[in-house]
Symmetry: D3
Subunit: 135 residues, 6 copies
C-alpha cells in the first residue's frame, strides 16, 4: 500500500501580476488589483506531499526532518520575504501567479526526490484561494 506523507511550510512574499507583452490597459483588465505596479503580498502556505512505499526498517516513506530541511533550503530561503518579480531568477520572465509558483516549486523539489516517489504541491495564496499540481 502506497502512503502519502505531507509537510506544511510557509513564506511571505511580494508580487504583482503582469504580462510585459501587453499594454497597461489589457494588464489592468486581466489582473485587476493584482496588477498594482507597487506590488502587494501574501502569506503563502505550502503543503509538499510525497507518495511512496513505507520503508520496513524505519516505518517512514521518507524522513520528514529531511523533507522539512529540503523545503527550507530550496523554497523558503529562495522566496521568503522576497519580491518575486524583482528578486528571484524564477519569476524574472514568468508571471508569479499561484499556478506558476506551484509549478516552479514542483520543479525545484522534484530532482531531490527518489525517482519512485511521486510529488504533489499544494499552495494557498490566501485562505480562500489555493492551487495544486502533481506529477
Amino acid at each position: 500500500m502506497k502512503v502519502t506523507v505531507s509537510r506544511k511550510a510557509h513564506f511571505n512574499a511580494a508580487h504583482r501580476l503582469h504580462n510585459p507583452a501587453w499594454d497597461a490597459q489589457t494588464n489592468e483588465n486581466t489582473f485587476g488589483k493584482c496588477n498594482n505596479p507597487e506590488y502587494h503580498g501574501h502569506n503563502y502556505e505550502l503543503i509538499v506531499s510525497v507518495k511512496g512505499d513505507i520503508d520496513p526498517q524505519t516505518g517512514y516513506v521518507l524522513d520528514m526532518k529531511w523533507l522539512k530541511d529540503l523545503i527550507k533550503e530550496r523554497v523558503e530561503e529562495r522566496f521568503d520575504h522576497k519580491n518575486l518579480n524583482t528578486q528571484t531568477e524564477e519569476f524574472k520572465n514568468l508571471n508569479p501567479t499561484a499556478e506558476n509558483i506551484a509549478v516552479v516549486i514542483h520543479q525545484l523539489l522534484k530532482p531531490a526526490l527518489r525517482p519512485e516517489h511521486e510529488l504533489k504541491i499544494t499552495l494557498y495564496e490566501t485562505p480562500r484561494n489555493f492551487v495544486e499540481c502533481a506529477d
Copy 2:
C-alpha cells in the same frame, strides 16, 4: 502539467432530511435528529476546484475572480439563507443530504466551464463532516 485551482465560498441554509415515500417511524429511524420537521441548519463551506492547463498568456488556469462570481451567481444566491426543502427547486423532490447538495452544485457549475476543465466539489456540512464529488 495540469494544475488544479480552488476557491472557497460559503452559504447558510436550513434543511431537514426526509423521504416522503417512507412512514414517519422509518424516517426517524434513518435520519434521527436530521428528520426534525421544524428544520435545523448549517454553515456550508464550499470548495470549488477546477483542473486544467495554465494559459501561458495569463499564468492562470482560469480567472479566480470569474470563478468567485460564478459561485456567487449560481450557488450562493440560490441557497444562501434559504430553506433548501421549501425554497429551492433543486430539493423540492430530492433529499438535501450533503451528498446530494454536492452533486447538485456540480451540475449547476459544470455547464459554465470549458469542456476540457475538470470539476471537483468539496462541501463541509459541519467542521467534522464533508463530502466530495468530481467528474
Copy 3:
C-alpha cells in the same frame, strides 16, 4: 494566579430574526435575508470559559469532563438540530440573534458553577461573525 479553562462545543440549529412588534417591511429592512420566514441555519461553535483558582489537589480549575457534560446537558441537548424560534422555550419571545443566544447560554450555565468562578461565553454564528459575553 487565576486561570481560565475553556471547552469548545457545537450545535446546529435553524432560526430566523424577526421582531413581532414590527411590520414586515421594517423587519426586512432591519434583518435582511436573516428575516426569511422559512428559516435558515448555522453550525454554532461555542466556547465556554471558566476562570478560577487551581485546586492544589487536582491541578484543575474544574474537571473539563464535568464541564463537557454540563454543556451537553444544558446547551447541546436543548438547541442541537432544533428550530430555535419554534422549538425552544428560550426564544419563543426573544429574537435568536447571536447576542441573545450567548446571553441565554450564560444564564443556563451560570447557576451550575461555583459562585467564585467567572463565566465567559463565546459563540461563533459563522466563521466570520462571533459574539462574547461575560459576568
Copy 4:
C-alpha cells in the same frame, strides 16, 4: 450585560519595515528580512470587535452588515492590494509594523462608532504572529 460582537475581514498588502532616521546597517540589524527594500507582503486577517449593550428592539449590539461595510470602506478599500509604504497616506511617515497598522485601523474605525461602544482590533500578520489594541 455587555456583549462584544466581532467581525473578521482581510486584506493583502506589501510592506517593508524601515526607520529613515537610521543608517542601512541599523535598519538591517533591527528589522532583518523585513527590511528588504523591494518589499514583501502578507495576508492580513483582521478582527474588529465592538462591545456594548444589546438593543432590545433588534437583539443586536449593532448591525453586523453595517460593520462589514464600514470595514470594507475604511480599511479594505484603503489597504487591500496596496503597497503600504508608498501607496497609503497613513504609512508614508509611520513604520507599517503590525502594531502600528492595528493602531491606525483603530483610529480609522473609532470615529464611526457610537461613543458608548468600545472598540478592539486584532490583526494577524501571519498565522503565528498577531497583535491587539483596544480603547
Copy 5:
C-alpha cells in the same frame, strides 16, 4: 457519479519511534527526539473517507452516524489515551510512525465496509505533518 464522504475524529496517545533490530546510536540518528525512551505524544486528528454511490432512498453514501460509531469502536477506544508501544497489540512489533498508524487504521476499518466502498485514511500527527493511504 461517485461521492466521497468524510468524517473527522481524534485521539491522544503516547509513542516512541524505535527499531529493536538496531543499536541505540542508529535509532537516535534515525529517529532523533522521537526515539526518546520515555515517550512523547500527539493529538492525532483522523479523517476517514469512504467513496461510493449515493443510495437513492436515503441520499447517503452511508450513514455518518454509523461511521462515527465505527471509528469510535475500532480506533478511538483502542488508541485514545494509550501508550501505542506498550498498550496496543498493533504496535507491539510495529514502529508507530504516522505512516504505520494510518495503514493499521485502514486495516481495522476496511473489513467493516461494504466491498464496493473505497476507503481513504488521512492522519495528522501534528498540524504540520500528515499522511494518507487508500485502497
Copy 6:
C-alpha cells in the same frame, strides 16, 4: 494606547495526571483515562502574549524574533518530545495539568520580560480544551 503582541509556538509531550498522595482508585475516579500509568500525549499549541507600549523608534512592542527565540530556549527545548512527569524538573512534584503547565510557562518566561510588560499565556492541550493565565 497599549498594544498586545502574540506569538504562537508548539511542542509535543507525554504526560499522565496523578496525585501521589491519593490511592489508585481515587486517582482513577478523578483523572479517568488521563491517569493511564503508561502515559498519553498531546500536541500543545502555545500562544505567548505581551502587552506594552509601542517603541516609536521601531514600531514594535518588542522584537517578535526575540520572543520566538525566548520561547524556543525556555519552553520548547525544555518540554518538546519529553515525558513531562519523568523528564522535567518542573513536573516532578507538580501534576502536569494544562492549568499547571500554563502557570509554569508563565513563570519561565516572566523574568525575561521588561517589568512594564504584561504577560499572558494561552495553552491548547487539544483543539477543544485550552487554558489561559496572565499577570
